[in-house]
């Protein structure tokens, strides 16, 4: 299958570090390019050679299943040589700093480094020290740009537009890079964004990003087209933010009665992995009429292929 490239359009950034660096044109360009890859991924022969001869290193300092496998598959389907490194049990434990690791890898002449790191800004630091393209696969609680792009693609595919939609992002906003990237992207494309979270999980001055904030979930879901649930990030919680999971579920878990406040054709999204019975009712998560969670994963590969191709050119 041939992939056509729109040569007239160029991306404005060298690296993909965050949605906040991109323009509306950049975002639309990536989403448009992704469309072709959705079809490719559904076809029999999934492999093309646009990145043949290129080397992609996936540098993951935090455990990840879907993002890492998605990036790995994306690179392989485009014909790149992909190497995945799980840094959790590697040099970093021997005291090597991020910069040293970066310089070591840089010496091997990779074309792309995909990085996930537990510290906000780690990808920015890396991008200053290497010669190749850096794609951010999540840094601390700052940004997760490809997740926001795949979410946007999913919404666009189902609702045929993003402008004018009312979208609720619910849950652990404080610790969520997915929330931040989605807020930037969705507000840029003209959606109305409602943020729903208990005060303890609401970042300071988030309303300055141009969103509405709610501590009452039912009010926050009122007339929404999309309900985006986030994972409760217990591993990042250093002190008591919540009394218990069951109370959280009662007030902030997505249940049919809360969902009733959204539009009848509202879609449910979740970046995964899900805590069933904590932030989302398990039946809703699996409801094929409402939940597009699996579709998000599928389109994630396409979006990452588009990003790899665009930023590598």
């Amino acid at each position: 299958m041939a992939i056509k490239t729109n040569k007239a359009i160029k991306i404005s950034q060298k690296h993909l570090l965050g949605i906040q660096d991109l323009s509306v044109n950049d975002i639309n360009y990536i989403l448009d390019e992704s469309e072709a890859f959705i079809k490719l991924n559904q076809s029999k022969n999934k492999k093309i050679d646009v990145l043949r001869g290129k080397t992609q290193i996936n540098l993951f300092f935090e455990p990840s299943t879907r993002t890492q496998s998605s990036f790995e598959l994306a690179g392989k389907r485009l014909g790149a040589d992909v190497m995945s490194m799980n840094m959790g049990n590697s040099a970093i434990k021997k005291g090597e700093t991020l910069i040293d690791t970066a310089m070591t890898l840089n010496a091997m002449h990779p074309d792309i480094i995909v990085i996930r790191h537990q510290d906000s800004g780690a990808c920015n630091l890396l991008s200053q020290k290497v010669n190749c393209v850096v794609l951010n696969a999540g840094d601390g609680r700052r940004e997760h740009p490809t997740q926001a792009l795949l979410d946007a693609l999913t919404i666009r595919n189902r609702k045929k537009k993003i402008q004018g939609l009312k979208i609720a992002i619910c849950g652990d906003i404080l610790h969520s890079r997915v929330a931040r990237s989605n807020i930037y992207l969705l507000t840029m494309l003209g959606a109305e964004v409602n943020i729903v979270a208990p005060s303890n999980l609401m970042p300071k001055e988030i309303e300055k990003f141009g969103v509405n904030t709610f501590t009452n979930m039912k009010k926050g879901l009122e007339d929404c087209d999309i309900v985006m649930m986030l994972r409760l990030q217990n591993e990042r919680m250093t002190s008591s933010y919540l009394s218990s999971n069951r109370e959280y579920y009662e007030y902030y878990g997505l249940t049919p009665d809360k969902l009733d406040h959204a539009k009848s054709d509202a879609l449910i999204m979740h970046p995964g992995p899900m805590n069933r019975g904590i932030e989302i009712d398990t039946r809703l998560a699996d409801d094929i009429n409402k939940s597009v969670i699996k579709e998000q994963v599928e389109l994630g590969v396409a979006v990452r292929m588009a990003c790899l191709k665009i930023f590598c050119e």
């Binding site: 906040q20 700093t97 991020l98 910069i99 790191h117 510290d119 906000s120 800004g121 780690a122 920015n124 630091l125 840094d139 601390g140 609680r141 700052r142 940004e143 890079r177 931040r180 970042p203 300071k204 001055e205 988030i206 300055k208 990003f209 250093t238 002190s239």
Partner: protein
């Protein structure tokens, strides 16, 4: 030493209320012999060749109340020799050193070592602090009395805060009994936990854990409440929030204490952190522009007594990390005066007030005979071209560590000569 004569200088010596054009005579013993407008060509012996300063300023040598030196333990970051050279280039002739070394300055035997090193290697006056608690772990008090007898000038846990209220109360009682000065770094640990920068839109945008301004306020209010009962010599090392200034202004009506501010918090705000600039990871953190303005106002109306450099040398390796992992602090002793002069040049604060906060006020709080140009005292002073423009360049810094918070900043005003005990130890 030959007698030295300086004429045609603008002299500011807040301690003696001198703010006039005149000259300075330094005796053969390195002490100040005469000062002021009466020192001019008309009454100098004709055989002497006085140095004509052509309107340049003479200030008392600066007393910097918050300086980190790497000795012992972190000599690769800064030692007494590099610190004193850096200090001299900025007109600083006396420093109060923090006890956060390795080992911590918390017992009598280490003080002897420190004093010996300071004496042998340093060209400036070193006034060491010891910690309030053993190993700065916030549980057991150090021997204030014995340490003071050995020459410890003040007690502080430096970068750390006494969290336990009962312990703080007991520290104040002891300090009162023994007449010791205690200095607190005001930060509630529970509120500030894992925090790196000010709470607000910048922290949310960068995805960094934050330190709310109330973390400072709660400790200040707690300590001042204790102080009402136990009137000891108490100093708050650094303020960062506008709200803290309000509280201090109000509480100063009833209870006696003093407070300081870092030149970083007076000159920069949280926006300067930009794209994760680790050199601006500071404690207390840079806050909003409104907070900075409130601090400047506090300095202007003398609610804030002292400006410090909070000089914290960190080697490149400690800063070339992600923001979360990078060390806290900035090198600043060399630029303390020049950056302070910015507040004068932009019309925010009177020159005399700035010099007072850098010289006579800290000396008074510390109860030392420094920071003044009184006749008969050691001639510790600097000569300053108050209008000379220059640019802060990392490679030109004298300190062993180059982590300046104001790289490439254009400054106006530069120290041209610095004297300690009448000896010229720095010359541009």
């Amino acid at each position: 030493m030959k007698k030295q004569y300086f004429i045609n200088a603008s002299i500011i010596d807040p301690h003696n209320s001198i703010n006039e054009n005149g000259g300075l005579i330094i005796g053969e013993d390195g002490k100040i012999e005469a000062i002021g407008k009466k020192v001019n060509t008309n009454n100098l012996p004709t055989r002497e060749k006085p140095t004509d300063l052509k309107g340049r300023y003479i200030f008392p040598g600066i007393v910097d109340m918050r300086v980190f030196v790497g000795e012992p333990g972190y000599e690769y970051k800064e030692n007494f020799r590099t610190l004193s050279n850096a200090a001299l280039s900025g007109g600083v002739t006396s420093v109060v050193t923090m006890p956060n070394t390795d080992p911590i300055i918390d017992n009598v035997s280490i003080v002897d070592f420190l004093k010996r090193r300071g004496r042998d290697k340093s060209k400036i006056n070193i006034f060491p602090c010891a910690s309030l608690t053993q190993n700065t772990d916030g549980t057991n008090m150090t021997e204030f009395g014995l340490l003071a007898k050995k020459g410890i000038i003040a007690f502080t846990d430096g970068v750390k805060t006494i969290q336990n209220t009962r312990l703080m109360s007991r520290i104040m009682n002891s300090a009162k009994d023994l007449g010791c000065l205690i200095m607190q770094h005001a930060e509630d640990y529970d509120l500030a936990k894992n925090g790196m920068i000010n709470s607000g839109i910048i922290a949310t945008k960068l995805g960094l854990s934050s330190i709310p301004d109330i973390a400072e306020r709660i400790i200040i209010e707690r300590d001042l409440t204790l102080l009402e009962k136990t009137k000891c010599r108490y100093h708050i090392s650094q303020l960062s929030a506008g709200k803290s200034v309000d509280i201090i202004k109000e509480r100063k009506q009833n209870v006696k204490f003093t407070c300081g501010v870092s030149i970083n918090n007076l000159s920069l705000n949280e926006n300067d952190i930009g794209d994760f600039r680790t050199f601006l990871k500071l404690s207390p953190p840079l806050r909003r522009e409104e907070d900075r303005e409130a601090l400047v106002q506090g300095l202007k109306d003398k609610t804030i007594d002292v400006i410090v450099s909070d000089h914290k040398p960190e080697d490149e390796e400690s800063k070339r990390l992600t923001f979360a992992q990078a060390a806290t602090g900035a090198s600043g002793i060399e630029t303390l005066l020049s950056l302070s002069l910015e507040l004068f040049h932009n019309g925010s604060v009177k020159l005399e007030t700035i010099i007072q906060a850098l010289t006579s006020n800290p000396a008074k709080i510390l109860n030392i005979n420094k920071g003044n140009l009184s006749i008969g005292n050691d001639a510790d002073f600097c000569i300053v071209d108050i209008n000379k423009p220059w640019i802060v360049k990392k490679e030109n810094l004298i300190s062993k560590s180059k982590n300046t918070s104001i790289e490439d900043k254009k400054l106006q005003g530069k120290v041209t000569n610095t004297f300690v005990k009448g000896i010229e130890l720095f010359k541009i």
